[in-house]
């Protein structure tokens, strides 16, 4: 029976912790306010506040054992936040690449740009669809683009062996009008008709030889890097060249084809009519999506995997931290058994003792959580990494993003660890008969 009660308590605690982890910040704020009111307005609450103050007051005398909780939880939170920041950075980079008022058109049933092929005629028809914004000369801002994979030596690696895949995008002049965020930060734009390239800032960080005026070998041809661009999105990981030069080099049999057409729409509301017109056009068999939706879908799988890995690693470390907290708090409760028993003898009830011990543990956990989040922020925020992105053929460069939601998740984990770590020692302290506790001294 005792085992069943223990098991039931454990299940309830775990369910409560999961619910807590899913809680939005407003929920936690409400809990804090309610707890504060309880401690302010009720007799038991005031007792709990007094006992908490006494416990917290002894923390300085228990710096060593308290540090075990703080450091253990800080480690868990730092690792978790770093992993989540990686997933967040990856997701954000791909999300930033799109917009609600920019559409991407691919061949029907294509999972991504690299598996899509659109003929020249299809590209012309797409550019004439309703809802596409026009430039100052009245031309639709639609850009047929060709994406191919190229290999380049990795920076810092052996130039003969360590090659990585980079995405080469063949574009026309309209691509610059389409992506107004793309700016040349060094050199100049490529000249149409020439084997010239501009390299994204992220690609430049990853690959060797991507310096202005350097020549590189791509597709058995020599290309000259004439500029570096910055776009603060996934495009930064690419090389851009003239589509009319990239096409014949990489697809001699389908030089005029493209893999996708990007179009700037007059407004987000123009998307549905635009899509309807293309889907119902018998000359075309295409999939149409907003770029924000397309790139979100592309990032979904990888960011989920990173998030799950982060959670699993975090959970394993959290179990260790929970045992650390349990051990420390059991020891603290044992050390303070005389104090707790005395308080209960003079009339303090069990609940305030439970609340006080838990608040003390959660305070230590909060300190650990803040410390871990700070470490992760200092070390990883803005840290650049790259991975082979889903739906592309090249390395995607992205920055870890230790954003507030990521830190919030880390803090919630810290508090959850503190909650579990404090609960059982607190229950023990409150359940132990006063006479037994006094006799054990």
């Amino acid at each position: 029976m005792k085992f069943l009660i223990g098991l039931f308590t454990f299940v309830v605690v775990i369910a409560g912790v999961i619910a807590f982890l899913l809680l939005p910040w407003q929920g936690l704020l409400l809990i804090v306010v309610l707890l504060g009111l309880w401690m302010l307005l009720t007799r038991r609450g005031r007792q709990a506040a007094s006992v908490t103050a006494i416990g917290v007051g002894t923390l300085r005398q228990r710096l060593g054992s308290s540090a075990v909780i703080v450091v253990g939880i800080a480690g868990v939170v730092a690792v978790l936040v770093a992993m989540l920041a990686m997933a967040n950075g990856y997701r954000e980079t791909l999300r930033r690449t799109g917009g609600d008022d920019m559409a991407i058109v691919l061949r029907g049933a294509s999972a991504s740009e690299v598996s899509s092929v659109l003929g020249h005629d299809a590209a012309v028809v797409i550019a004439q669809a309703p809802g596409i914004a026009k430039d100052e000369q009245g031309k639709p801002i639609a850009s047929p683009e060709l994406v191919v994979a190229a290999n380049l030596p990795m920076k810092g690696g052996n130039p003969e062996e360590d090659f990585g895949s980079v995405q080469l995008r063949g574009i026309g002049e309209m691509a610059w009008k389409l992506r107004t965020n793309a700016k040349i930060i060094a050199g100049r734009k490529f000249t149409p008709g020439l084997r010239e390239l501009v390299a994204g800032k992220g690609a430049q960080r990853q690959f060797d030889g991507l310096e202005v005026d350097h020549e590189i070998k791509l597709g058995n041809q020599t290309w000259k890097v004439v500029g570096i661009f910055e776009s603060k999105d996934a495009m930064e990981s690419e090389l851009w060249g003239d589509a009319d030069v990239v096409g014949p080099t990489y697809r001699p049999n389908g030089a005029n084809s493209s893999t996708s057409v990007f179009a700037r729409l007059t407004s987000p509301e123009a998307f549905e009519p635009f899509k309807a017109a293309l889907v119902s056009d018998p000359r075309l068999q295409v999939d149409v999506d907003t770029t924000v939706s397309y790139f979100s879908k592309q990032s979904e799988g990888t960011s989920k995997v990173i998030t799950v890995i982060g959670m699993v690693v975090g959970a394993i470390m959290a179990i260790g931290a929970v045992f650390g907290a349990l051990n420390t708090m059991f020891a603290a409760v044992a050390t303070r058994a005389r104090e707790i028993a005395t308080l209960r003898a003079i009339g303090f009830r069990g609940l305030p003792v439970v609340v006080a011990i838990m608040l003390e543990t959660m305070l230590l956990a909060l300190v650990g959580g803040v410390l871990g989040g700070l470490i992760a922020w200092l070390v990883f925020n803005g840290y650049t990494a790259s991975t082979l992105a889903a739906g592309t053929t090249g390395q995607l460069t992205f920055e870890f993003s230790v954003a507030p939601p990521v830190l919030w998740t880390g803090l919630k984990w810290a508090l959850a660890i503190g909650f579990i770590g404090g609960l059982y020692p607190a229950l023990r302290a409150a359940r132990l008969p006063v006479t037994t506790a006094l006799r054990e001294l």
């Binding site: 005031r46 006494i54 005389r338 209960r344 009339g347 069990g350 006479t435």
Partner: protein
């Protein structure tokens, strides 16, 4: 004089694993209001158990205990805690002061359970410390006080909420002779001048002489009573 404590047919049985140990057997006892009673007896005779039952720290297995007309054996844990905070002051052998709190703050502890303001709590604690002769040591922490002084702080804590009953478990067991006499003298003063009912467990016959009478317990049974001058 009216009885403050009435104990009727009280037994206390502890279960240790499968074994049942009867610590008190059918105790019948009346303690008058304003009495100073010493409980003596060999180790394991049930003195502390009886004291804990009277102080509401434990409940009897059988029988009834009334203190000030209240059947404390019928109170639940929460109600018993509230009752203790209002009616009983505890004095322990090892003082049981909270080491990180000053003497003043230790004495204020029971008042945290009342609705008194911080200023009132401070004032009452100061009066209690004055009564035990330690007003000038109010800001000192327990480690900065001698054993006798610590026990006097504990006495101040026990009386600060003006309880009817003081229960003392070997209050001089950890003190030298002089300090023990000071503490016992203080208890006697509280009994004679302030009308506090005191029940004191002790092994020391000299300490018991400060009480108005002594009860002896042996193997959970009251065996004799001695009246002091």
């Amino acid at each position: 004089m009216a009885n403050l404590v009435e104990i009727r047919n009280v037994s206390k049985v502890y279960e240790r694993g499968k074994q049942k140990v009867e610590v008190l057997h059918h105790i019948e006892l009346d303690i008058a209001k304003g009495d100073f009673l010493a409980l003596m007896g060999p180790s394991g005779s049930g003195k502390t158990t009886l004291l804990n039952l009277i102080g509401g720290l434990d409940s009897p297995t059988d029988g009834s205990i009334s203190v000030g007309g209240e059947r404390i054996d019928r109170l639940g844990e929460g109600a018993l805690a509230k009752w203790r905070s209002e009616h009983v002051g505890f004095i322990f052998q090892f003082y049981n002061l909270l080491p990180m709190l000053s003497a003043q703050k230790n004495v204020e502890l029971p008042l945290l359970l009342t609705n008194l303001s911080a200023a009132q709590r401070k004032n009452n604690a100061s009066i209690a410390l004055q009564l035990v002769g330690l007003a000038e040591r109010a800001s000192h922490k327990p480690t900065e006080l001698s054993g006798g002084q610590q026990q006097r702080v504990a006495i101040a804590r026990a009386i600060v909420s003006d309880p009817d009953l003081l229960v003392c478990d070997e209050p001089t067991g950890d003190l030298d002779r002089q300090s023990a006499e000071d503490v016992l003298g203080l208890l006697q003063t509280l009994n004679r001048q302030h009308g506090k009912t005191i029940i004191m467990v002790t092994h020391d016959p000299k300490a018991a002489e400060y009480a108005s009478h002594t009860l002896h317990l042996d193997k959970g049974t009251l065996v004799e009573q001695a009246q002091h001058a």
